[in-house]
């Protein structure tokens, strides 16, 4: 899952450490999410997007093609 955390951090002039402290995770976790090594839980994804004051879909991009209810 792609994400724009790095862009949002740059926009708000935030370090990984600062963001990690604010949402209660390790800095390494923020780095892993940014590098797409780790997909955060829904809970953490909401925390991150709420912190930046945007919707979760503005920060995280779900690329996988899945059938919608209209298609099934």
């Amino acid at each position: 899952m792609k994400n724009k955390i790095k862009i949002f951090r740059a926009m708000h002039n935030l370090t990984q450490e600062h963001l990690a402290d604010a949402i209660g995770v390790n800095r390494q976790t923020i780095l892993a999410i940014e590098k797409e090594k780790y997909v955060p839980s829904l809970d953490l994804a909401f925390k991150i997007s709420r912190y930046f004051g945007v919707n979760v879909e503005e920060v995280f991009i779900f690329n996988e093609k899945t059938p919608t209810i209209m298609e099934t």
């Binding site: 990984q16 209660g24 995770v25 390790n26 390494q28 976790t29 780095l31 892993a32 090594k37 780790y38």
Partner: protein, 148 residues
């Protein structure tokens, strides 16, 4: 409690356990080390809950979870290999009746050999867990660095 004090405490407990183990071996009474091991583990768990500056987030929990699952998956297969052999010996499967009737004497493993097997299994479990922990830590970006 600070994280460093916790690690220091773990070191002290490990050293104390080593001394108790040596004492148990000398006296040939395993009850000492068995009780001490339980007390040691309980103390570590209690102390861990008192650590204030350690953040165990969801990624850390996932790494531990995945490493434990994989360790158990491999360990129980190897453990079963030994156990099946032991249970077969215990149940004493009779020979085919048409063959010459012979008295089957069960093979009893000497206690020293049993000890080596147990030690081997214990070491295997530790190595598997450490190995899988490193693997999953690497997979989930534990050793990655960036410009910050």
């Amino acid at each position: 409690m600070k994280k460093n004090i916790f690690y220091l405490l773990v070191g002290c407990i490990a050293f104390a356990l080593l001394l108790i183990f040596w004492y148990s071996v000398e006296l040939h009474v395993s009850l000492f080390i068995e009780l001490a091991f339980i007390v040691g583990v309980v103390l570590i768990i209690l102390a861990r809950n008192k650590v204030t500056d350690k953040v165990d987030d969801e990624r850390d929990i996932k790494i531990t979870e995945q490493a434990t699952i994989r360790t158990m998956q491999i360990f129980w297969i190897i453990f079963c290999l030994f156990s099946i052999g032991a249970v077969m010996e215990l149940l004493h499967i009779p020979e085919f009746p048409r063959l010459s009737p012979s008295i089957h004497t069960p093979v009893i493993l000497p206690p020293r050999l049993m000890g080596y097997i147990q030690l081997g299994l214990l070491c295997l479990m530790i190595f598997l867990h450490v190995g899988f922990r490193i693997y999953y830590a690497k997979k989930y970006g534990e050793f990655d660095t960036d410009e910050e």
